[in-house]
């Protein structure tokens, strides 16, 4: 362990000492503050479902990454290559390239790769993960066809100074240290979060010869800081400044079929955003700018392969919600992005400029039982017009507890920088992938005595054309717009909670059916109607939580159905069950709160793989403590 690492951990420890600091009240006893960080996140897609992964789900996965959080919902299939390896998420029968992740409206998809590595997004930095399933292209642009995932922080609701220190230890060398502090005054608030987490990940596995040994070369290290500042000089204006710096270092272990590995990767990311919200009598405006700088360094001293890549994204946009009258509302916006890459893999340093305009018109009936939103996006990339992407949403509310929603619209995905500019192979003539999607949903919250519940049924149909696939042509691999895919499916979600004695029992069940097929030159004869590889046809989650005074017991069970692993659909990975248990106990009062948590992942010690030949860990545990202190301010808010 280097000296810089020791100093960083010491800093975290000292900052966590409860001297003059104050701590926020445990959020399990207080309704969290929902922070709308993007004006067009909510209410403009009534035909689609948006699932907010709440604090109870977060807690079970809070010691891990956003990938772990998303495994708690059946809407996203997280393709995990192991705790020390990458993880990506796909939805609606589509792969990871069709799901984008946003932070303060900034897209986190890597321009070269076109995917987001969820395993380098620590869960503890974010209080909410909002998953909007389905086509998000009109509002959020490129790469958000399967779903859009928004990472959000909650701003403190109560005035005063609060701090939380958390530490966790776990199996296979897991360690986590984090410190958060927030200060809220009448007109401004500041929230700071520092973290360090590491693991050896040397869990036992069997290689292809059947020999069991600890997984070698699998260490991970992540550290970073997230800073949020908001200033509200008057009720009409709010200015936000946001900064997120992070360094990740991972050693990639061998697969079951490899003897050794010396591959590894470092990610250095700096993300800056600033926004200005202006509230007028009949309109709200958001002006936002952001800068994302990322360095990805991959090395493999065994094979002599390596690359060092810098990506830069700068964006600026203005977004406005205008209340035209009692029934009509308009959202309109204009945004520009500049993307640039410097990489040892490229002969040159390509750049790209995107300009997009979007607009959404919402109408609701006088009774407010019915509303519709018509939206469209037009994007220009390096002077080339991308096809217009319109979408129509509609929702009907026959009474307060019942909702019917539907949407139909067009989607698109741009070629990545690797598709366009890879040496010798890049194809600048590639066209955007295009498609159409329809969704439907029914949501019902029956009225009951003594308990609450909600049911939600979601349906989707996807059609995608001109999919990009790399194929060899005269000795060179070249990306081409050849493939097509079709997918459809349904999801059922049920939530319920009861007040029992002096406690609360909450249950959540979810099932997802997805049917996805692909056609094109890569389709083996006779496989056109078979499920696409690594898209499970069936997935289900069941979780329950018992909260009694200051104690909490929670269990989460997941089942993932069999998947094909190759294009010929002859190799499969079997279905698997996973269970996790968490026991938590809070000590102290509203000002001083100590939370002790014990988490057992894969409690049934299942031997399973999400991706063939990448072994996953068996049963593992984590013990964590959180100390929270809150000092209410004497000043009026």
């Amino acid at each position: 362990m280097g000296s810089r690492s020791i100093k960083f951990k010491l800093l975290l420890f000292l900052l966590g000492m409860p001297l003059s600091a104050a701590t926020q009240v445990d959020t399990t006893l207080q309704a969290p503050t929902v922070t709308v960080t993007a004006g067009r996140l909510y209410a403009w897609q009534p035909g689609q479902e948006a699932e907010i992964l709440d604090s109870s789900q977060q807690t079970q996965a809070a010691w891990g990454t956003v990938a772990d959080v998303l495994t708690t919902t059946a809407d996203i299939f997280v393709k995990q290559y192991g705790p020390a390896n990458i993880a990506t998420g796909g939805a609606s029968g589509l792969g990871a390239a069709y799901t984008n992740v946003f932070w303060h409206g900034l897209p986190l998809q890597h321009p070269m790769l076109g995917v987001v590595d969820l395993s380098v997004l620590p869960a503890l930095l974010f209080d909410q993960v909002v998953v909007v399933s389905g086509n998000n292209s009109p509002l959020w642009g490129n790469g958000a066809i399967g779903s859009a995932i928004h990472l959000q922080q909650q701003m403190p609701k109560q005035p005063g100074l609060g701090t939380t220190y958390r530490m966790a230890l776990g199996s296979y060398g897991q360690q986590q240290y984090a410190w958060t502090a927030s200060l809220r005054r009448a007109k401004w608030m500041v929230d700071s979060r520092l973290f360090h987490q590491q693991a050896d990940n040397d869990y036992p596995y069997r290689d292809i010869s059947g020999e069991q040994r600890p997984l070698p070369h699998a260490q991970t290290r992540m550290r970073g800081v997230l800073q949020e500042c908001r200033w509200q000089p008057n009720p009409q204006h709010e200015i936000g400044l946001h900064a997120w710096w992070q360094h990740s270092r991972r050693a990639f272990p061998p697969t079951r079929v490899q003897a050794t590995s010396l591959a590894g990767q470092q990610d250095n990311d700096l993300r800056l955003a600033a926004d200005w919200k202006w509230r007028r009598q009949h309109s709200h405006w958001l002006l936002r700018t952001g800068l994302l700088r990322s360095r990805l360094t991959y090395t493999d001293t065994l094979s002599g392969i390596g690359s060092d890549s810098y990506s830069h994204i700068w964006l600026a946009e203005v977004d406005g919600n205008i209340q035209l009258n009692d029934r009509w509302q308009l959202n309109t916006g204009l945004g520009t992005q500049w993307l640039g890459i410097e990489s040892t893999a490229y002969a040159q340093s390509p750049q790209q400029h995107r300009l997009a305009g979007w607009s959404a018109l919402r109408y609701h009936s006088p009774s407010k039982r019915w509303e519709s939103v018509l939206m469209a996006r037009q994007e220009i990339v390096d002077g080339r017009l991308i096809p217009l992407t319109p979408t129509l949403h509609t929702a009907y509310y026959p009474y307060n507890r019942l909702t019917f929603g539907a949407s139909f619209g067009r989607s698109y995905r741009l070629p990545t920088f690797n598709d366009l500019y890879w040496p010798q192979s890049g194809n600048p003539e590639l066209r955007p992938e295009q498609g159409w999607q329809a969704t439907g949903r029914i949501q019902w919250q029956p009225e009951q005595q003594g308990w609450t519940s909600s049911w939600q049924l979601n349906l989707f149909v996807n059609k995608l054309e001109q999919q990009i696939i790399w194929l060899p042509r005269q000795g060179i691999w070249i990306p081409q717009n050849i493939n097509r895919s079709r997918s459809h499916g349904a999801g059922l979600r049920w939530k319920a909670s009861w007040e029992v004695a002096q406690g609360q029992l909450a249950v959540r069940a979810q099932y997802r059916y997805t049917r996805a097929v692909q056609q094109g030159s890569t389709t083996a004869a006779g496989t056109e109607r078979l499920q696409v590889a690594y898209v499970p046809r069936h997935r289900a989650n069941l979780s329950w939580q018992w909260q009694y005074r200051r104690s909490r017991l929670a269990y989460d069970h997941r089942w993932t159905g069999q998947v094909f692993t190759l294009a010929d659909r002859q190799s499969t990975l079997p279905a698997y069950h996973l269970g996790s248990l968490i026991v938590a106990q809070r000590l102290g009062d509203a000002r001083h709160g100590l939370l002790l948590e014990i988490n057992i992942e894969n409690i049934w010690n299942k031997d399973y793989e999400v991706v063939r030949h990448y072994p996953m860990p068996g049963r593992r545990w984590q013990i964590g403590i959180r100390y929270r202190f809150h000092n209410k301010s004497a000043r009026k808010p």
Partner: protein
């Protein structure tokens, strides 16, 4: 095609792989999928047995089967991305042992019954392996990627393809088998890849060239006594197949090479053929084998996503039959 036999029924009960009974089809597998395999086509039964290693040993072979060599009663299977050589009893393909300690092994050349050389993609060396102890005992430093090996007397000729992103390599290296040291090199064209010996005792090397620098490759004829190039036949352009292949018939009179299409050239020809013997017509030819003086075998990787196809032809290019094999058939070992 005269006839197509798609995936003949495997005779799973027959595990006798004796000399002269058939041909081993090497299926490289998809990278990182661990689905390399070996199939066996039996002459007498005219049938294909698939995945014989897995069937006999109840486990996968590994990731990227690059090559195979039989020494007496043992077969050495070089599994490149699994960083090992699996050793099996040829007669029934039962597993005997494993040679490890090589970062990226490629080809195997026995020097005698006790020792062998193994080339390597990333080690900047040729490994010296003890075949009794099944372990690497020495490294012979060679700059760059070492690929195919061919012995002439006390010299072993080593091809060395260019590596992506690095300056092109143009050297054919020579190792002395007495001292196990690199002793000489011959300048050819960028990316020497494949090497065979002809009926006159001369060597032929296929160089892929450099499409990045637009330098064509070609065929180079080498006199091993002089360690010099005696004939140079350059390709018309720098576009070659994804996996250039070079083979020769049993009596060493006809060269066959794949440069997208299949070409045939007598060894005494003074120019490259202008028309192919067989046109690929969009197929992704990935493996080439010549059975004696009778048949041409070609492996088609199709789209590098699904199982491959092997077609055999007469020496004049007339198709005989084809069969579905494992993923990315890259070679044939006629036994």
């Amino acid at each position: 095609m005269a006839c197509t036999k798609d995936n003949p029924l495997p005779t799973t009960g027959d595990t006798n792989f004796g000399p002269g009974t058939g041909v081993f089809i090497l299926n490289e597998g998809l990278f990182n999928q661990g689905n390399a395999s070996i199939d066996f086509f039996r002459w007498q039964a005219d049938s294909l047995q698939t995945d014989i290693f897995q069937r006999q040993n109840s486990r996968p072979l590994g990731d990227i089967l690059q090559s195979m060599f039989i020494v007496r009663d043992r077969a050495y299977l070089v599994v490149n991305a699994s960083q090992r050589i699996e050793v099996v009893q040829v007669s029934d393909f039962s597993h005997l042992g494993t040679i490890e300690g090589m970062p990226s092994p490629r080809y195997f050349l026995p020097l005698n019954e006790q020792q062998a050389y193994v080339s390597d993609l990333s080690a900047n060396a040729v490994h010296l392996v003890d075949l009794q102890r099944l372990e690497v005992v020495d490294q012979i430093a060679v700059p760059g990627w070492t690929e195919q090996l061919l012995q002439v007397g006390n010299d072993v000729y080593v091809t060395s393809p260019s590596f992506f992103g690095q300056p092109p390599n143009e050297q054919l290296y020579i190792i002395d088998t007495q001292s196990h040291r690199l002793v000489d090199s011959i300048q050819l064209a960028p990316s020497p890849q494949q090497i065979v010996a002809d009926g006159d005792g001369l060597l032929w090397v296929l160089c892929a060239g450099s499409s990045e620098d637009n330098i064509p490759g070609g065929l180079f004829r080498i006199d091993p006594q002089q360690r010099a190039v005696v004939q140079e036949l350059r390709f018309a352009d720098a576009m070659v197949s994804l996996a250039p292949q070079l083979a020769i018939n049993d009596n060493g009179t006809q060269l066959y090479y794949i440069q997208n299409d299949l070409f045939r050239m007598p060894i005494h020809s003074s120019a490259l053929p202008t028309t192919p013997l067989l046109a690929a017509d969009g197929q992704q030819w990935y493996g080439l084998g010549i059975r004696g003086n009778e048949e041409i075998w070609i492996g088609d990787a199709i789209d590098f996503q699904q199982r491959g196809q092997v077609t055999r032809y007469t020496m004049d290019g007339s198709p005989l039959d084809s069969m579905t094999v494992g993923f990315l058939p890259n070679g044939f070992y006629f036994y």
